[in-house]
Symmetry: C2
């Protein structure tokens, strides 16, 4: 038996306990919990964790999430079977859940305004609908990949404004979007919207998302039906799903909304999350987007997503869209940070705009835990490989 | 033992043999084949058909599809165990496959031009990219429902041009889109595009699609990220997947493409499908859209969908977008047929524009089979229920 050492300042202490799917050499993927620098195999607790995805556990519902969280806390506070404890550096981490539908929102006013200025210069930066509803669209669930997956530079059609016709080739404007993703635990049936105050019953947890974006492909293709191949080549998520139950201390009021949204979007107690994101480019932190600045709240996104009667399923992932704050060094995409490439940032002494082959991006985040503590999210990392 | 009677003029003869998932009272859903007016239980042939979806069989690949089709032809040409044969009217038909990702294209020049005129009056009807690439977007896989599912009128935000602000309520402009959908049998890995001449190896079969559309919700929400809640409440598909192998005689040349598309979209022998669709509104045929008029071919759609390295999976569904021909009575959506509601059509003696509660829409199709014969698609039907 062994006792898991938890340093007082660990971002993965007893207040966090995020779930992931791991394997060790020669064993099958199964669910574990991260505690400090260890992964504890949860199959010692319940057979539902022998699945290679969190989905069966998430589908058991909110009461079970609460109960199991208590049991995990008891388990890892005492002596654990040696065979169930692995150093986090010694395991392989997999996609933590099977993604049902993937929706991406556009919930940061700073980001939407910046992109509006860049994509539609001379027009109003925000479209007329933006302050009335959380704008969103469906992305490709099948290309959501776990942190650490290499990103092959995508090819496709691009048409620079100076060219008369489009050409085929590797994207020259490969970018990131630092986002926060919400994982639906228990679905809702067709024809029954999820009320804006029912978020906590339905949503299991939170991940970090890198919505890789090929801006040249996107700019040419996206009118009138929205982003498609400019995004669908890969979306990376962090390996650890931080339970919503761990984020009680991170709740903050959302910024004021004007005009007041329609009743189906009005929360009794509107809340956002006080997450500090950090974006590192080849090892150098270039931006620190503050999630607390987001205009639309997580609960408003889910209520909107289902207001037309659309069902939701265990494993649905919906992401916030790029998290950008008001300051330049709070922007969550390089197209904003470098103003479309016109204002390079210095990375390790070199001026940089969009991603080059070999570049590595790491997005991480922390949030307030119980008084005096912070909890961490797993990093979402990815390295750019040359186009094939 | 029994011999399945196949009238010479049956649309479901030995040249068709579409797959579906059925159950009888007290039994579990399993795969069957439609022969004339009977469903033959395919679990008598192979255990892979005991699954409640076609996915495990589709994943076995093209060589198996060919081999099993021969075995089915032999099976139903001889005497079959009585217990394996059911009248089609006596079974319940289910969603035939588990939908992985759902993509909807916009491949009809007539439809895209009509919608452009209606949604963006005074501008060029086709966007600059339209003739260079098959425009498409991701839809909601989780709300793809089988034919016969009632469609609850969706609610959401709408803002008629005459109103200063949006309001919440039931859609007043509920519409259909008659489409043809293609089902991916064997997926392709991340980073490896599907070549435009590899369609036949990857695509298992074809279904009819009704992409229900709330035009007022769509018009307000769709800028700049595309359609979302105006579509995501329900997409109906026909219960029978017609194998691509049954459609050899239905292949026709696609209309000329000018400008010539980029090399990755150039087929050695470009082909479309000579399907005659029919749309019936409360029992009266109001339109007969010809699939042979579609500008972008099925193979071009799949090649484009994966050109950026996006993977595909067994069960991916991609639909053509509304099938519209050049004539008014060939338009595949009511917004086109009634020109935005300005030119009602007469349905059973009444002038009609958009869908009313209680309306039923049936989309069906036939295609040329071996000389002198035709093959049929299953109908896709749906009835509109009042908003909740």
């Amino acid at each position: 038996m062994t006792r898991v050492a938890i340093p007082e300042d660990s971002l993965f202490g007893l207040a966090n306990l995020p779930y992931g799917v791991f394997s060790t050499p020669g064993t099958r993927p199964r669910v574990g919990v991260r505690v400090a620098d260890s992964v504890v195999d949860l199959t010692v607790l319940d057979d539902v964790f022998a699945a290679p995805y969190l989905n069966p556990f998430m589908a058991q519902g909110h009461a079970r999430w609460v109960e199991v969280r208590e049991r995990i806390r008891d388990l890892v506070s005492g002596d654990v079977d040696d065979a169930a404890v692995h150093p986090v550096d010694a395991v392989t981490l997999h996609l933590p859940f099977e993604v049902a539908d993937y929706v991406d929102f556009y919930a940061s006013e700073h980001h939407a305004s910046n992109l509006g200025r860049l994509f539609r210069p001379g027009s109003e930066p925000l479209q007329p609908n933006w302050k009335h509803l959380p704008v969103g669209y469906h992305g490709r669930a099948g290309t959501v990949v776990p942190s650490g997956t290499d990103i092959v530079r995508p090819s496709g059609q691009r048409k620079p404004p100076s060219d008369a016709a489009p050409s085929y080739g590797a994207s020259r404007r490969l970018d990131i979007e630092a986002e926060v993703g919400f994982v639906v635990g228990t679905g809702s049936p067709l024809g029954t919207p999820v009320g804006v105050d029912d978020f906590g019953e339905r949503v299991f947890g939170v991940v970090l998302v890198n919505d890789w974006s090929a801006r040249d492909i996107q700019a040419w293709e996206y009118v009138p039906l929205g982003p498609f191949l400019g995004k669908s080549f890969a979306t990376s998520i962090s390996p650890w799903v931080v339970p919503l139950l761990a984020l009680e201390s991170a709740r903050v009021a959302t910024p004021p909304q004007d005009p007041e949204p329609l009743p189906y979007l009005r929360e009794k107690n509107p809340w956002g999350l006080d997450l500090d994101l950090s974006i590192s480019w080849n090892g150098q932190v270039v931006s620190r987007p503050p999630y607390r600045e987001m205009y639309w709240s997580p609960a408003q996104m889910l209520a909107h997503l289902t207001v037309n009667g659309a069902s939701s399923r265990t494993g649905d992932l919906f992401a916030s869209g790029t998290v950008s704050g008001p300051d330049r060094d709070q922007r969550g995409a390089f197209i904003e940070l470098t103003w479309g490439g016109a204002e390079p940032v210095e990375v390790n002494g070199e001026p940089r705009t969009f991603l080059e082959d070999g570049d590595e991006v790491v997005i991480s985040a922390t949030a307030p835990g119980p008084p005096g503590t912070r909890i961490g999210f797993g990093e979402v990392t990815g390295r750019v490989l040359p186009a094939r």
